[in-house]
């Protein structure tokens, strides 16, 4: 039954992707992209990746759709139909697809326990996590502790992307537009009854759920990345309902920019403190006298740093794009 469900979802995914490519109306393409992400999240869940499904649902279907819509509002939402030579692309793509499908016959089939990917470090992670770190969620253990370097790098990439968007969009374009301040007409959807009522009801619960995901990430699916995406999705909804001005009064831009830097700093600082205590960089065992308790403390602080940076970056990007006005 689960297998059939998976096949159905995967087929639906391909159909949605074809719909996205064919849509002339970019608004329709963006909406289909949101549906595509939601289907992808369902597939991740069927494939036992609860953490990834949570992230994809919050980021792909929520934040990414929002950003694409924001960009559409600043450009054009119609794609020009034109006669282009499409045959070379179609031939290249078809030949490559067939070659890749031919190559898949050497892949282990889905769920094969003998597949090479399950032989190397994965069993070690599963057997050592209860002894060394002693938290139930192995994904969080690997993310924050075993492969902390990776995660630190990813946080810096997100940091850089957030700073980059601010550099590109926030400094005006030479015609006197200081754009970090929203214009006075940004009253949001306050005059529409249904979004206002539903939005006000939902926002606290989304943010609360985000905080739960942040601090319960060691025990269930969750962690800083998911929590950051969820909290910023909730706050973006608040900005949409109440207007950007109101949202910026609740959390000013200077706070958001501070959050971007502070989260990344916190992550790195935990690593450096470990070094001062005589351990390696990002070794949390030395933080407290009990190594396992030290791991718990380190993971909690690091996840907090990740959550703060992700929230800050996503909200800053949203406000930067939303504050820009299209000039006609």
């Amino acid at each position: 039954m689960v297998v059939l469900f998976g096949l159905f979802l995967l087929t639906l995914l391909v159909i949605t992707a074809l719909g996205i490519v064919n849509a002339d109306n970019l608004f329709a393409a963006v909406m289909l992209m949101g549906i595509f992400s939601l289907q992808m999240a369902a597939i991740f869940f069927v494939l036992d990746a609860a953490d990834v499904a949570l992230t994809e649902a919050a980021v792909g279907a929520g934040v990414a759709t929002m950003l694409l819509l924001g960009a559409l509002a600043l450009t054009k939402d119609k794609e020009k139909r034109r006669r282009r030579r499409r045959w070379p692309a179609i031939v290249i793509v078809t030949v490559t697809t067939l070659m890749m499908i031919y190559a898949t016959f050497d892949m282990p089939r889905l769920g094969d326990p003998q597949a090479p990917v399950h032989q190397h470090v994965a069993p070690w992670y599963l057997s050592e996590t209860p002894k060394v770190i002693d938290i139930p969620n192995v994904v969080t253990a690997i993310l924050a502790s075993f492969r902390g370097y990776d995660t630190l790098g990813e946080v810096f990439v997100i940091f850089t992307a957030g700073v980059g968007v601010m550099f590109i969009l926030a400094n005006g374009s030479g015609n006197g537009r200081r754009t970090m301040v929203p214009s006075a007409d940004s009253t949001g959807l306050r005059h529409h009854l249904v979004p206002r009522v539903v939005g006000r009801l939902l926002v606290p619960f989304i943010v609360l759920f985000g905080l739960y995901v942040q601090f319960h990430g060691e025990y269930g699916p969750g962690g800083g990345f998911q929590a950051g995406a969820l909290i910023s999705a909730g706050l973006i909804l608040y900005a949409l309902v109440e207007g950007e001005k109101e949202a910026l009064r609740a959390i000013p831009l200077s706070v958001l920019v501070g959050m971007i830097a502070f989260g990344a700093f916190l992550f790195g600082a935990v690593g450096v403190v470990g070094m001062l205590f005589g351990g390696n960089f990002l070794d949390y065992s030395v933080l407290l006298s009990n190594p396992v308790a030290g791991q718990h403390l380190g993971i909690m602080l690091v996840e907090l740093g990740v959550g703060i940076t992700v929230t800050g970056v996503l909200l800053t990007i949203f406000h930067t794009i939303a504050a820009r006005r299209k000039d006609h």
């Binding site: 995967l10 992230t55 992307a161």
Partner: protein, 118 residues
């Protein structure tokens, strides 16, 4: 059902190439970014497909339960972070497109090139 053991990989191949086709054949820059997102999602699907173990469950350990099979947590960690990085880079791309649109008045690649040539 044995036959469908590779179906995930076929969908991966098709999605990857749908994304590539969009990037190659569409002139609209936002459409190109959407194509890149599809390409990226296909790679996510490949990784998550590899984490599945038959009869397994999500890798959240439960004390006192013996003999439970868990799926491979490592690909999940890699993709978890990649999704958030993906949306951050998408935002960077969109910011550049918005600036192009403001400077050139269009986001169609060939029209931008025409204006550059003049």
């Amino acid at each position: 059902m044995e036959f469908f053991g590779l179906y995930n990989y076929w969908v991966f191949a098709v999605l990857l190439m749908i994304g590539l086709y969009t990037v190659m054949s569409k002139a609209n820059l936002i459409k190109k970014l959407i194509g890149m997102s599809i390409f990226q999602s296909a790679v996510f699907l490949l990784y998550i497909t590899m984490d599945k173990v038959e009869g397994g469950t999500a890798p959240i350990l439960k004390p006192g339960v013996d003999g439970q099979i868990y799926s491979n947590p490592l690909p999940q960690v890699l993709i978890l972070t990649a999704i958030v990085v993906g949306v951050a880079t998408l935002a960077l791309g969109l910011a550049i497109v918005v600036r192009i649109s403001e400077s050139y008045g269009t986001i169609e690649e060939d029209e931008v090139r025409e204006i550059d040539r003049e």
